[in-house]
Amino acid sequence: MEYAVIFLPLFGTIIGYLSKYFGDMTSQLITTVSVCLSAVLSIIIFYNGVINNGYGNYLIYEWISSGDFQANWSINIDPLSSIMLVVVTLVSALVHIYSIGYMSHDPNKPRFMSYLSLFTFSMLVLVVSDNFLQLFFGWEGVGLSSYLLIGFWYKKNSANKAAIKAFIVNRVGDFGFAIGIFLIFLFFGTLNYNEVFQLVPSFSEKIINFIGFDINLITLICLFLFLGAMGKSAQFFLHTWLPDAMEGPTPVSALIHAATMVTAGVFLVVRCSPIFEYSQFALNFVAIIGMMTAFFAATVAIVQNDIKKIIAYSTCSQLGYMFFAAGVGAYHVAIFHLFTHAFFKALLFLGSGSVIHSMNNEQDIRNMGDLWKKMPFTWISMLVGTLALTGFPLLSGYYSKDAIIEFAYLSHTKIGYFAAAVGIITALLTAIYSWRLIFKTFHGRFNNQKISKSAIHESGLSITLPLAILILGSIFSGFLFKDFLIGHHYTEFWGNSILLLKKFSHEQVPVWLLYLTPTLVTLSIPLSYYLFIDNVKILDNIKLKNKVLYNFLLNKWYFDEIYEFIFINPIKKIGLFFWKSGDVKTIDRFGPDGISKLVKIISNKATKLQSGYIFDYAFVMLLGLSLLLTFFIIYK
């Protein structure tokens, strides 16, 4: 069964693609059915794990073994991987179903479905790995599928650019990840999780000299691993690829750039909690980067106009929440938020996809408005998604996001208090940009000249069915799994799969903190309505008065421009310099070309020596003779 979960999507990838000769339907059917089966099986595995403690490790075969360097292909089922299995396969199955409807006009359906399945396979390999190398395989594998899917419409230059950008920014992260792996192997002599984690405590004080700096080994490993996580999870400094990745088809954004792949970084940090727990510095670093991302992305989201980009920045911001949860040591809360976030963020993306689909690929929310009567079901699902995202009481996001803020507060450290404050402010910002999206899209005036309003209609069943399931998930996943995943007895579920060195105190959080966020979030609804529908002029005034700030936010803090300036252009210039000035003007000029020229010159001179005139030869002889004579006279 465990094997089937992993390999069904691979089967779908290959057979689904090959079966395109039997028509698009066959491919769609094969890929979708295999992923759905995989989803059912992973729910069984999860259930079996919880009830019968049915965890285990299944070896497939040895991958690389060179001397003491060993890495296997294996399937490791533990609480953490089983919950990730459920998230990945479930969302993936829904997205597969959704894509049948969403991509109905696309000529390349088999390829699309097969890429989706390939992604699912790589993500599963990543999740169930029991060693760092297989994790790395999955890590790059999801990067590849993401690259392929972002660039799925390869006619569009912008899509190709975004795809390359995503892959390369991820490679920068992977570079760090790889160095983390090298360090682990060098000092622990193994890449197997369990063996590494057992050795970590004995190395916790070890200081090594790393290219001239004396650094604590564990801290160093954590920082490098985290660099990988930052790339994959689009954290501050390495986030620039995620908004651009929205060039891909919307189901891709829902599956890869919201629910699953981008959370791989969080998964990595949580998986490595037995290492991170021994480095307070690294944990603080994680927390700070998480906070910065959460805040930064929320500020940018407020002024964006592309419906998908707003949700993309929102994803970025929520990932920041997960990271600072992990950074204050609340790994289980991070995973809980990952779990609920998968539902409501997939819901938001798929809902916005439904809007885009029925508006002929219009993505600018300024060109929408008043759609709610036309697409009531989509409206409801977006509404539920937004409520859940903002943490409206009793919906899933409320339980997980508030838990993050509470646990940050409960950690009783300076960083923790600060994180709680950032969490609350960001929650308010989140509420504002989310409601802005809803009001501008579904309410107000209809602002589109290209399509008449009557042409807009609700999407078909293959689109609404996944939405319906995700609505249920967004409403209930928090409430149902709260006690189980982050309640007082959370260790019963998590077992050894995460390590918490210091236990969180069971004391109650102050009442004001409990009520603060929900109140703010609720108040933001009328506030946003007032700002974005009732009285737009106020905002226009603010925009005019703060032009600089507005542009700063609109241009995403100018990150792309800065990177262009300090990385991309210099690299191109250096490359050109090495080629033209290094290879051609130096090496070739003084090397082969120079030598052949020299030979030519010398031989030209040499020909001149043989003039054929006897007096020339006689002169040289005389000269030689006199030189020799002088030499002998002096040294005799």
Binding site: S66, G67, F69, L133
Partner: protein, 498 residues
């Protein structure tokens, strides 16, 4: 006496070449006879090599299938023998040659017969290099290989073929002269040119440094290492596809093999002494040539520069002197043989159809050549070292091995992995993706059966060894162990002497 399988593998292509020579042909006509003979010869040779691999005993590090004949008594013996390291290269050669023969049937339009003869003779020389256990014999094969390659570039090459051919010749010959002198001095020092004997006698350490440098100068040019790499892009650009394939896949590997068999084996003390030197050059090669590759507008040049960067990993791994490093670099050479061959074939496919290699000339190829684009993508991914391809196994092991001895070198080399992703994906984007705008491209046909067949074989092998590199690692493991043990023994003895 056993069946002389090594000599058979080595000289069978030569016999084949002779029969090709006997076939009748006009200059501009396709010559069926020559094609069949050369195909037959190269395939038989490939199966012989497979059989050799099958009967090879990977439990021992001793040389196997040894054949000895005296050539000049007391001086040169004709000695063949292989260990786990050589056999992989023999396999690679025997596999690549039939592929390049098939590819040139379509693309070489003039003097096909002579071209096939050159390739078959070249195969003899290349396999001879990997079998020789006598320095003089090795040198003969090593240098003789230059001649057919020189002709292939000079006769069937592009517009600047003569310049490139001479540049190629000048560079490689310069190093070889020094190597010849070194071989003669080794004979004066040890009284033999038999490599196995020399391993036992051990060359006194005071001679090692100069001898090492002499061998290095030859191998560094062939590999090529920075800064003597500039002949490679020119040679590749002008060479016909089949020539590029052989050049990248096998000729470059002869130098890597030479480092392992001769530099490290015979001069361990000097090898240890020069580690920082090699590391510096390798790291420069990786970063420098990757950056240069980024800015190329000619596809072949881009791949040629990327070859230099990939070979930088090879030297890095060899001179890390640990199991992961050396095994990694051997696998890297093997897989680079497959990948670069495949990439050059891919460029050849476009060149045959349009007679252009400029990246910007293309664009939107995916719309009319879907099969080609799919298979090209696999090789691009392999070249940038994606896990699951053989390129990853080699690169990763090399980096693990290097990291054990030098943090800085390994980290800088890892930057090369980012750069390779940039230039390969950018190349793919510009050539394959995008809108199909040029009218002259619209008539292109997708891969024909033979093109698809050879590319499919290469792709399948690259993926197979990416997921399951054990067959390779098992073959070399014991020999590499032996190499490292001997190296460490020599180093510790020399330290004890001091």
């Amino acid at each position: 006496m056993n069946f002389p399988i090594l000599s058979s593998i080595t000289f069978l292509p030569l016999i084949g070449a002779f029969f090709v020579f006997l076939t009748r042909s006009e200059i501009n006509q396709t010559n069926k006879g020559a094609i069949y003979v050369s195909l037959f010869t190269s395939f038989v040779n490939f199966f012989l090599a497979l059989f050799l691999w099958y009967s090879f005993d990977n439990k021992t590090s001793d040389f196997q299938f040894i054949e000895e004949l005296t050539w000049i008594s007391g001086f040169i013996k004709f000695k063949f023998g292989i260990d786990g390291i050589s056999i992989l290269f023999i396999l690679l050669t025997a596999f690549i040659v039939p592929i390049s023969v098939i590819s040139c049937i379509n693309s070489v339009k003039t003097r096909l017969k002579e071209f096939l003869i050159a390739i078959l003779i070249l195969e003899t020389f290349m396999i001879g290099v990997f079998c020789s256990l006598d320095l003089v014999i090795f040198y003969l094969f090593f240098e003789a290989g230059l001649i057919p390659m020189f002709l292939i570039i000079g006769i069937w090459g592009g517009s600047r073929r003569v310049y490139s051919a001479f540049k190629f010749f000048l560079f490689t010959l310069l190093g070889s002269v020094l190597m010849l002198i070194a071989i003669i001095s080794i004979y004066w020092i040890t009284g033999t040119t038999d490599v196995v004997e020399i391993y036992k006698i051990k060359i006194p350490s005071e001679f090692q440094y100069l001898l090492w440098l002499a061998f290095f100068s030859s191998f560094a040019v062939k590999l090529p290492m920075w800064p003597v790499h500039t002949w490679l892009p020119d040679a590749h650009v002008e060479a016909p596809t089949a020539g590029s394939v052989i050049l990248a896949a096998i000729l470059l590997k002869m130098a890597g093999y030479g480092f392992l068999r001769f530099s490290v084996g015979m001069f361990p003390i000097a090898s240890e002494y020069f580690i920082p030197f090699i590391f510096t050059l390798s790291v420069i090669a990786i970063i420098y040539t990757s950056l240069v590759a980024l800015m190329q507008d000619d596809m072949k040049k881009l791949i040629a520069y990327s070859s230099v960067a990939h070979m930088g990993f090879v030297t890095l791994g060899i001179f890390a002197f640990n199991k992961q490093g050396i095994e990694g670099s051997i696998i890297q050479m093997f897989s680079h043989g497959l990948i670069s061959a495949a990439l050059f074939l891919c460029v050849g496919v476009l060149y045959d159809r349009t007679h252009s290699r400029l990246i910007n000339y293309f664009g939107g190829v995916v719309h009319i050549l879907p099969k080609y684009s799919f298979i090209f993508m696999i090789f691009v991914l392999a070249a940038l070292g994606l896990p699951g391809t053989s390129g990853f196994v080699g690169e990763f092991l090399v980096l693990v091995g290097t990291f054990k001895v030098n943090f800085l070198a390994a980290i800088l080399a890892s930057l090369g992995v980012i750069l390779s992703a940039i230039y390969m994906l950018w190349l793919y984007k510009r050539a394959v993706f995008g809108k199909l705008e040029k009218n002259e491209l619209k008539g292109m046909k997708d891969l024909n059966k033979s093109e698809f067949g050879i590319l499919f074989c290469l792709g399948a092998l690259i993926l197979f060894f990416g997921f399951y590199p054990d067959p390779l690692i098992d073959t070399i493991s014991v020999s590499v162990d032996n190499l490292i043990t001997n190296y460490n023994l020599d180093i510790s003895q020399s330290v004890a002497l001091k």
